[in-house]
């Protein structure tokens, strides 16, 4: 896990709409920006702007290191004033970045079956994980990853171009406009018996209802599941204690841990999402 954190100014190369409520920002950074691990996030704010005050946490969608610069890709949903202002930024504008932050996904040994469960913009860290860790020879021994991707409708399905050919893609829409008609967890439920718990792992990220439903589905199922959680954050560094989530700690005791430091990736069976914040849109002003 990358423990190095850095504070840098990046320059926007591209900032474009990828769905009616989602944008992708490409940021050019100095080459010394530490390489993020899949599941890690960055705190982003517009440089030289005093308002909104706080940076917004965005998970890493893609990262490439070149000789003289690094390229960071961020996928974000318009969830409040902060992200709406992000969407108005132009190439050449500067962003202040802190990161990479948090604890990312852990890849267990001896996997042959990897399932990704994504809802909406929750696809971002999972695509980065798939591209970063499951394109190599070691996973070719196993079966092709299966990517369950859900959204409200076909126009909100994002990242398909990055997934084609890398996995078996199972699309779901709430209105049936593409793929399975219904929630992504409903499709998974109908197929879950086909996965051997001994050789399967699930990586998930999405809105609160999806995480809650996944929690119910896997309650009595031994398949391990790592889930990336979002919360409102002020600092991203562990100081403000604003982003906590309840978990079952040692001795099954309920306690609050910081999403920014102990997370954002948690074992689904430990985490008790009780927050009223929509995890997919964990904006500081929702």
């Amino acid at each position: 896990m990358n423990e190095i954190q850095s504070m840098m100014t990046g320059v926007i190369r591209e900032n474009r709409k990828v769905a009616s409520d989602q944008f992708m920002m490409t940021v050019i950074l100095p080459p010394s920006f530490p390489i993020p691990a899949p599941g890690q996030f960055v705190m982003v704010r517009e440089a030289n702007r005093g308002e909104p005050l706080l940076a917004r946490p965005l998970s890493v969608y893609g990262f490439q290191k070149q000789d003289d610069h690094a390229v960071l890709e961020l996928l974000y949903r318009l969830a409040g004033r902060g992200t709406i202002l992000f969407s108005k930024m132009k190439p050449g504008d500067e962003v202040a970045l802190i990161g990479p932050l948090g604890k990312g996904f852990t890849i267990p040994e001896g996997l042959t079956r990897v399932l990704f469960i994504a809802g909406g913009v929750g696809v971002a860290p999972l695509i980065f994980l798939l591209q970063d860790r499951f394109l190599t020879a070691e996973t070719e021994k196993g079966k092709k990853p299966i990517f369950y991707l859900g959204a409200r409708n076909v126009n909100l399905l994002v990242g398909l171009e990055r997934l084609n050919g890398l996995c078996d893609l199972k699309l779901c829409t709430d209105d049936g406009s593409q793929g399975y008609h219904g929630p992504v967890t409903e499709l998974l439920k109908s197929e879950i018996e086909g996965y051997d718990p001994k050789e399967t792992v699930i990586f998930a990220c999405g809105p609160t209802p999806m995480i809650l439903s996944l929690g119910r589905l896997l309650k009595d199922n031994p398949i391990p599941c790592q889930v990336s959680i979002e919360e409102r954050m002020a600092c991203g560094l562990g100081a403000c204690l604003g982003c906590v989530v309840a978990i079952r700690g040692p001795g099954r005791k309920r306690e609050y841990v910081r999403v920014c430091l102990e997370g954002p990736v948690f074992d689904l069976k430990e985490v008790l999402p009780t927050s009223s914040v929509d995890m997919q849109g964990s904006e500081n002003e929702s």
């Binding site: 005093g50 202040a96 560094l237 100081a239 403000c240 604003g242 309840a246 009780t274 929702s286």
Partner: protein, 320 residues
């Protein structure tokens, strides 16, 4: 001017200030609850350059804090209702203080209790602990049901707490005051008479925010404490009221984001400042503020920071 002579001039600036028996190398401190236990900020801040680190509030036993959501951004500020989540004073000494001892920076323990006896016990444990240079008493947290603000809103209760802690420790004693009172100078006078070596102000201003779509409060605790630039003019006004009322040093807190913000407080009479919400936005804010204060002193040919403190010229306006 060549760079070397400029460097020499910077070194000539005397920024030291005294709080009780404690001398700080400069007046820039961190505010409790915004800087963790110091180590969270070590990648961004040279802790040796800080006047003091005020650590996250410590209670006798660990506290789990309030349920989320705990924070919400508001215009030029943020609301929080963390509820004093902390690892407890004993764990702090065992696990966090050794890191801070490696630095040549004063460590101020911010303490909290639900009862007078809890405050007293925390102070007793900290007294004589190597690496603790002062105690800041939080009688001003708006986000807990018992303790905190209930002591800070009444002069008699504030004085009683101060007396009890005073009897437990020889460490410099700073009492942190709440703005959620009718007359903050009254409270300041009461804790001064009870033996406080300094007062720090302000803690957060009680506030609230509502999600109109869900018709729910944005914070699970319903209300929270407002911090950030939104409260700075209130904080500065209260510092002004208190410096005229008490003889002990006043530490200014409230929405200080830049050196010029900090200078407003120092000129008004604050002996030192605590930087809070700014740390969340710009982790190195304290360093920029310190550098900016030095630049200002060079520009205004001020050799000692003490010449600047309380130098506010109100003409005839301030003598009401």
């Amino acid at each position: 001017m060549n760079p070397k002579s400029e460097e020499d001039r910077i070194e000539l600036q005397d920024l030291t200030i005294a709080i009780g028996s404690m001398t700080l190398k400069n007046p820039v401190m961190t505010a409790s609850g915004t800087f963790g236990y110091g180590e969270e900020y070590a990648p961004f801040v040279d802790l040796n350059r800080l006047g003091a680190v005020v650590v996250k509030g410590l209670s006798l036993e660990p506290r789990s804090g309030n349920p989320p959501p705990r924070i919400m951004e508001t215009p030029s500020g943020m609301l929080n209702a963390v509820g004093l989540q902390n690892i407890g004073v004993r764990d702090f000494i065992a696990r966090k203080l050794p890191f801070l001892r490696r630095y040549d920076t004063a460590v101020i323990a911010n303490i909290f209790g639900e009862t007078v006896d809890e405050y007293r016990q925390v102070a007793e444990i900290l007294n004589g602990t190597e690496g603790i240079h002062a105690i800041e008493v939080n009688i001003s947290c708006p986000n807990v049901k018992r303790g905190g603000i209930s002591f800070g809103a009444c002069p008699d209760a504030a004085a009683e707490i101060t007396r009890h802690i005073r009897s437990e420790t020889d460490l410099p004693l700073i009492v942190k005051l709440t703005p959620n009172v009718t007359d903050i100078a009254q409270i300041a006078l009461a804790v001064e008479a009870a033996g406080a070596d300094a007062v720090s102000l302000i803690n957060t201003v009680t506030g609230m925010s509502v999600d109109i779509e869900r018709r729910r409060p944005h914070l699970a605790n319903v209300t929270g404490g407002l911090s950030g630039p939104a409260i700075r003019p209130i904080a500065l006004r209260m510092v002004w009221q208190v410096v005229r009322a008490v003889k002990v040093p006043v530490i200014g807190i409230g929405g200080i984001m830049t050196a010029s913000d900090a200078l407003e407080f120092l000129i008004t009479g604050a002996r030192a400042v605590e930087i809070g919400t700014a740390n969340f936005i710009q982790p190195a804010a304290t360093m920029e503020i310190l550098d900016g204060i030095k630049d200002y002193m060079i520009r205004h040919k001020i050799g000692k920071i003490t010449e600047l403190i309380g130098s506010l010229d109100t003409g005839t306006q301030g003598n009401c």
